[in-house]
């Protein structure tokens, strides 16, 4: 066990190193340079430009820049080129904004997809199965932003519920109960929207997985033993059908930092996704690279977590 963890840690660190090098290279190979942001701006004289380049080490060779960047990142000195604020602080702030959205979205996705997919598989070909199939493909094929606007119109005009931003502007003087409800209402629509596509895809996947397992010989054996059908489906079939989702569960982790650009933009939600998107537009390299690096860490941690979980749930996998 310990040797497994140690080996894994070493291997993943090596991977992380290469990810850092490659993401650094990609960003620097992309055309354009931060100092070129606005060549027409009269404030940007040649001298100012040079000063900037020096200050941000842009005049050094690439590998030196690379070292500078990761030194700053690890010592926490890395700052955004846009507003000079520490990158980690900035990310943390946005992360806290995205977190409720992520948690609620993931919760909705995972708690809905499984019952829906499992029931569809067990009653294959029934009205329930066919209608959820239709709904899933509908949700998958309809563009997210379009769906969002329909929902916004519906919710705002029918329910008179505030939806834009994280809370209603100027409400901070109200009592804490009103404040809480206001925040929850704001959270509601973006989470549901974010989860809709996820539920559609994941429930399909659950259904197919379950169907495949239902046709296995050991499920027939379970029936031949005279077990009640609940035990056949929910014990013998489900336990096996769930195995691949353990892997997926580990891959949820990177979603923590991803956020959804589209949904955050539609709802003016000041989250991670929008920050990263704006950083790219502004060529704010420290922010881009840091987000990149952190998500790489989360991906690796996620796969590690799934490996560990897999060992717990699948007796065939041992160290």
């Amino acid at each position: 066990m310990i040797s497994f963890i140690a080996r894994n840690a070493v291997r993943k660190s090596i991977t992380l190193f290469f990810v850092s090098v490659i993401s650094f290279l990609i960003i620097y190979l992309a055309p354009g340079e931060p100092s070129q942001i606005d060549p027409l701006n009269p404030m940007f004289t040649k001298e100012v430009l040079e000063r900037f380049r020096k200050e941000f080490h842009l005049d050094k060779p690439l590998h030196i820049q690379y070292l500078y960047f990761y030194r700053d990142l690890f010592t926490g000195k890395s700052v955004s080129w846009k507003d000079n604020r520490p990158v980690l602080g900035k990310i943390w702030e946005r992360f806290l904004n995205s977190l409720p959205l992520f948690i609620l979205g993931t919760l909705i996705t995972w708690t809905l997809s499984f019952p829906v997919g499992i029931r569809a598989a067990i009653s294959r070909g029934s009205f329930y199965d066919r209608s959820t199939t239709f709904l899933a493909y509908f949700l998958i094929s309809i563009p997210g932003f379009f769906f969002a606007y329909i929902l916004i119109i519906l919710v705002v005009t029918q329910l008179h519920v505030p939806v834009i931003g994280m809370q209603t502007f100027g409400l901070s003087s109200a009592n804490s109960w009103t404040l809480l409800m206001d925040r929850l209402w704001h959270l509601f629509l973006p989470s549901v929207l974010g989860a809709a596509g996820g539920v559609a895809i994941l429930s399909r996947y659950v259904r197919n997985q379950m169907l495949e397992v239902e046709s296995q010989d050991y499920v027939r054996t379970a029936k031949a033993k005279g077990l009640p059908s609940d035990q056949v489906h929910y014990k013998h079939a489900l336990r096996n059908a769930l195995l691949p989702f353990v892997t997926m569960f580990g891959l949820v982790l990177p979603g923590l930092i991803g956020g959804s650009v589209i949904i955050e933009s539609i709802f003016s939600w000041p989250g991670m996704g929008r920050m990263a998107y704006e950083a790219i537009l502004a060529r704010d390299y420290p922010v881009i690279l840091t987000v990149n690096f952190v998500s790489a860490i989360l991906v690796l941690a996620g796969t590690f977590l799934s490996d560990l979980l897999y060992m717990v749930v699948d007796p065939r996998i041992r160290l």
């Binding site: 027939r220 054996t221 379970a222 033993k225 005279g226 077990l227 007796p315």
Partner: protein
């Protein structure tokens, strides 16, 4: 024998309805199993053996499957009229089944102890400790060494033969009256095959249970079976006691199967196999379904579906041609060894 009748299948028909075709997998079979008897259903792959066995337990997937006709009388009651709940009480307790594929028939995520105990806990009102004790005894009975430790093993740690032993233990757990063994040795090594068959025979005698042994290899059944039903393309083509059928096969298909037993052809000669293959159950030939492969074929075989003919008491076959030859004493002796020669003679 008649008075102790346990199972009686009458004119059972199971069809699979496809988009455009109907697969007549089981097309009117009748057979009987008496208490404590070993009866064998023999036929090549695709003859409908597995489907007819699964029908006994109500495990044919419907749809696409459909039971078109017939009855399955088990202790005088028609299982086809049973509700799903009633069938659940029959499965694993009164009738249990050992499958062909030991490698995939056990659930990979539960220990073998769990999987055996489950049958006992499901059907009987006993506690976990008693169930565990009985599981260990069962494992010992089926010849698993150090069963106290093995109960906690997961299936992937066991060999094919051991897994089949576990399947047998599972089938025996509640002391059923009838065990259906669907080609229990086909997926195993030859040496292991003999051991598993031996085990079946011992357990059957000790527990005085009936066994429906399904196989495609007549050689397997010779020593342990009481009665044989030869199945071809969804129908029974011949039935008799082992002695009768081996000594005096009347249906040309049975003769072919006997000729195909490993070791029956002369040394140095390649293993015989009946030319051609079992017809797809959706596209069976007119008349006798065996007629395209039959060395005795006559024109009438291609038109008229043959009736079961009584050759001797209890020994019947579905072939009017051999019946005529037999009546006129023109049917050669040692027919199964001379099957190839018959073929040539038939063509000449």
């Amino acid at each position: 024998m008649e008075k102790d009748l346990l199972l009686s299948v009458n004119n059972l028909k199971v069809y699979f309805h496809g988009e455009e075709t109907i697969s007549k997998a089981v097309d009117g079979i009748s057979y009987e199993v008496a208490k404590g008897q070993i009866v064998s259903l023999v036929g090549e792959s695709g003859c409908g053996k597995t489907v007819s066995a699964l029908t006994l337990l109500g495990l044919v997937p419907c749809p696409p499957g459909k039971i078109e006709d017939g009855e399955i009388l088990f202790r005088g009651k028609n299982l086809l009229n049973f509700s799903e709940q009633q069938m659940q009480k029959v499965r694993g307790r009164e009738i249990s089944m050992v499958f062909q594929e030991p490698m995939t028939s056990l659930n990979p995520v539960f220990t073998i102890g769990d999987q055996i105990q489950e049958v006992i806990l499901n059907h009987e009102n006993v506690g976990k400790e008693i169930a565990l004790k009985r599981t260990i005894t069962l494992l010992k009975d089926v010849g698993i060494p150090s069963p106290e430790e093995r109960v906690n093993d997961y299936p992937h740690l066991l060999s094919g033969g051991q897994r089949q032993r576990v399947m047998i233990a599972m089938a025996l757990a509640c002391g059923p009256d009838l065990v259906i063994a669907d080609e229990p040795t086909t997926a195993l090594d030859v040496t292991v095959q003999a051991q598993i068959l031996q085990l079946f025979r011992e357990l059957q005698q000790k527990r005085n249970m009936a066994v429906l042994l399904i196989t495609h290899n007549l050689g397997v059944v010779a020593e342990i079976v009481d009665r044989i039903y030869v199945m071809y393309a969804g129908i029974i083509v011949e039935t008799g006691t082992v002695k009768e059928v081996f000594k005096d096969p009347f249906h040309p298909y049975t003769m072919g199967l006997l000729a195909a037993i490993p070791g029956s052809s002369k040394k140095g000669k390649p293993l015989y196999s009946i030319p051609g293959s079992v017809p797809d159950s959706a596209y069976k030939p007119e008349g006798c379904p065996f007629n395209p492969r039959c060395p005795y074929v006559q024109d009438e075989c291609k038109i008229k579906f043959p009736e079961m003919v009584n050759f001797k008491a209890g020994h019947q076959a579905r072939c009017p041609i051999t019946y005529r030859l037999w009546e006129n004493q023109e049917l050669p002796k040692n027919r199964h060894f001379g099957f190839e020669n018959v073929k040539r003679a038939g063509q000449a």
